[in-house]
């Protein structure tokens, strides 16, 4: 039972014997790099880069479900990528536009 399931996964049209598995797997590298940058100070984040990451993540989440073979590995990496991009943008916007407003009541 378990062996046949593993076999099915191994021989899947988007399985590890195909490029459809390895391309998204390397895309995870970019998402993980972005997670590593969560500790980076927001001044060092780049708007264009994070916007590119967010847009790619969202659009590709849909793309991964309309291609053949349908690619859940690609889907999950793009959801992760979109989420990390949104979080980084949130940090950057919070720092650039709202941190001053928070400091004011503390000074009074």
């Amino acid at each position: 039972m378990a062996a046949s399931k593993i076999q099915a996964l191994w021989n899947h049209p988007a399985g590890p014997k195909t490029i459809h598995f390895w391309a998204p797997t390397f895309k995870w590298g970019i998402s993980i790099a972005n997670i590593a940058d969560f500790s980076k100070p927001p001044e060092k984040l780049s708007y264009p880069q994070q916007i590119a990451v967010t847009c790619t993540g969202i659009i590709w989440s849909r793309y991964s479900t309309v291609i053949t073979p349908k690619n859940w590995n690609l889907f999950s990496v793009n959801v992760a990528m979109g989420a990390t991009g949104i979080y980084q943008l949130y940090r950057k916007i919070q720092h650039d536009y709202f941190s001053e407003a928070q400091e004011l009541p503390a000074n009074e």
Binding site: I19, I30, Y63, I67
Partner: protein, 177 residues
């Protein structure tokens, strides 16, 4: 349809740049010799005048554009917008070529090189085949490899080789540097 489009833009340029208005029939003959088939031109629809040819070109370009708009990988689908979003990486990379090489992350750029190489193959294998994605990742591969070379140069990986070679040629003792 794509071949036709390319051929027509080429024809227009030829006709207007070199003033070959009277040479249209021979141009068409050359096209057929080169194996560029224009079935409608060879048939009795062949435009007889310059104006008729221009009308024909305009009509064909419009239909080529419509075909592009409605194609299964056209701008009404995600197959078009996915690669467009990925151009963001290429543009970000191009912007970074203007920044000092100390800013480049070797790990990230190296990962990008492998990532784009893999996605070129992916773009070819996926159904429907995605030429836009292929071009995008070929461009990204180029930009990222250039960035990687800048990074390597700044780290001294490429410099060291040169000085070693110099040492061999001039037979300088090693402790001189």
């Amino acid at each position: 349809m794509k071949n036709k489009f390319i051929l027509f833009s080429f024809l227009i340029r030829l006709i207007f740049i070199s003033g070959l208005n009277s040479e249209i029939p021979s141009l068409l003959a050359i096209c057929s010799l080169l194996g560029l088939h224009l079935p409608t031109i060879h048939s009795h629809h062949c435009p007889s005048s310059h104006a008729a040819l221009l009308r024909y070109i305009a009509k064909s370009m419009a239909s080529a554009f419509r075909a592009f708009l409605n194609s299964p990988v056209g701008p009404k689908t995600t197959h078009f917008w996915g690669p467009i979003a990925n151009w963001g990486f290429v543009i970000a990379g191009l912007v970074d070529t203007q920044k000092p090489p100390e800013m480049i992350s070797g790990n990230m750029t190296g990962a990008m090189c492998v990532y784009s190489g893999l996605f070129m193959r992916f773009a070819w294998m996926v159904q429907p085949r995605n030429y836009l994605l292929l071009v995008c990742h070929a461009s990204n591969e180029t930009v990222q490899l250039y960035q990687l070379s800048r990074w390597a140069k700044a780290q001294g990986y490429l410099q060291k080789k040169e000085t070693d070679a110099e040492k061999l040629i001039t037979n300088n003792p090693r402790n001189q540097d």
